[in-house]
Symmetry: C2
Amino acid sequence: MSRSGRTTIYDVARVAGVSYGTVSRVLNGGRSVSAGARKAVERALVSTGYVPNQQARRLAGARPDTVAFLHCVNSDQFLADPNVNGLLLDCRHALGDHDIMMVAPVGTSGPADVVTRKLAAQIFDPVLLFSAPTASPAVADLVDRDVPLVACGIPLGHERQVSYVSTDDREGARQLVSYLRSRGRRRIATVAGPPDLPGGVQRLAGYRDAVAGFDPALVAHGDYSYASGMAATERLLRQAPDLDAIFVASDMMAAGALVVLERAGRRVPEDVAVGGYDDARIATTTRPQLTTVRIPWQRYADELTRQLLRRVDGAGPSGVILPVELTIRGSA
Amino acid sequence: MSRSGRTTIYDVARVAGVSYGTVSRVLNGGRSVSAGARKAVERALVSTGYVPNQQARRLAGARPDTVAFLHCVNSDQFLADPNVNGLLLDCRHALGDHDIMMVAPVGTSGPADVVTRKLAAQIFDPVLLFSAPTASPAVADLVDRDVPLVACGIPLGHERQVSYVSTDDREGARQLVSYLRSRGRRRIATVAGPPDLPGGVQRLAGYRDAVAGFDPALVAHGDYSYASGMAATERLLRQAPDLDAIFVASDMMAAGALVVLERAGRRVPEDVAVGGYDDARIATTTRPQLTTVRIPWQRYADELTRQLLRRVDGAGPSGVILPVELTIRGSA
DNA sequence: TTGTAGGCGTTATCAC
DNA sequence: GTGATAACGCCTACAA
């Protein structure tokens, strides 16, 4: 029994009648252990109710057993999206298979929080970053401290130091807007995402790639929420009443856009074509259903898990960009 | 620099020109350190960018720096309650003052989850328990492993081993029902909470204490949600159409009850008096406003923090029961 | 295959 | 006040 009252590998070794080295061996992998010894140890393990001391393990060089999850903006509605939520659950489940638990600070809005920022760096090993603003000081902080980071979306400004999984946002946006053009639309507006989030930047860049010239009046920003989609669309309608299409940077905002357009008496897609992004659950519950850019959620989860595990195992940063696919429905 | 590349107290000691024992002293408390040494160390601390290694600290006997939060039921609507949410935030904030972070497993429904149950016991030190079912095997598990637990509500079956903060649910219910009787109500029904949660049990017990005889037809159970409050009330109306009062075990459910009563054409409080519990935010937004039992949320948060801190510091289990207070409004 | 030093980064207890 | 030095519980060579 240790000071703390918990049984240690020494106790286990004693009751198993072997050295503590042997116990350690069966605990990790179990190479180079005779069948007899292993059996004796395993028996002793349960009879003593041994629970490994993670602190000691880590200190002795074992790999981390937790991954911290930080989402940097106050967007509960974002996590409420079944796709995103499923992404997280898949990831958590896969990590669980490796005996790794995903934890999150309670009641904070991510690394921007002072306490969290300070403590996260000391406590957690790999950190999964969600919605990290470009040039976020908090992220820079973590990077400085060499905390292994894995981001959802390209960590603009830290591409070399932070692992990431992203979809090809720019290409997806370009494809959708090109499609709108191919259908004869000429005054294509966009409800872009937050200018400080990588997705917001990239999807807007893709829009600019595909659109003929660039007219600032055709751009309005939202924060990915339904309400902001409505507000931005109203702004667009005022700024450019002659628009005949809108590329909206998320399906949630696009749903809001549809409502505003209907209220304004514009038919979709006849008067105004609307394109979304994400292929979120809501894309098929609107009327008309949304033409959108599909994100391969399952692959996204798989890659995220892979990147996380690589970091857990001590590998350096690396990134993947997943292809996206146009999904044509009724709205455009 | 350590193996992991991080600076250690050795590095700090070297640049400060003192022994690492001195560094450790200024790091903790700082007693018995000359002003000169302290100054040198503090300078070295920042110049080297030292970050303490928590694993090593814990291993050497320092106190925990995290508290895990587990809520055992899938009730997001429960956490969405501003009072409960505020409770958590207050608590988190107070802990932050002690450099302790509150974390929660991601995407699980508490200790019932296999991975969580297994890992929580090894990783976390004090665990804050929410809505732990009476006789929950998961809780028993943690208790067996000597994980310091602090529960919200009386941990029935583990009163001696688990710290807790609770309100006097039985007394509160008794007071409210007695009040109903004093106002001339004679067929007093109740929408009770879940029979496997301490609050559910105690508030029902208080109801039985105060009511004249016990008629099973006057009891229906809900799960604290708005919807369940509606459903339970409908059941009551069928089982006992002659009821003239309902004691509902939570304000959220009481709000649902009001709607059902109105639809059924019963006037509140004229035909049916309704009493709630919690004095939640919703209690003042219903029509009529709810007569209810007020929980002293601020004190609750303070006590919770205190209990948590005691556990962090290695103290044994202890519990507090907070007094409640009747709050008379329009519904009864 | 097995046992045994040595070390991980701190804290705490000693003499000095 | 200050500097050694022994834990803390475990892992990983290395020797046997």
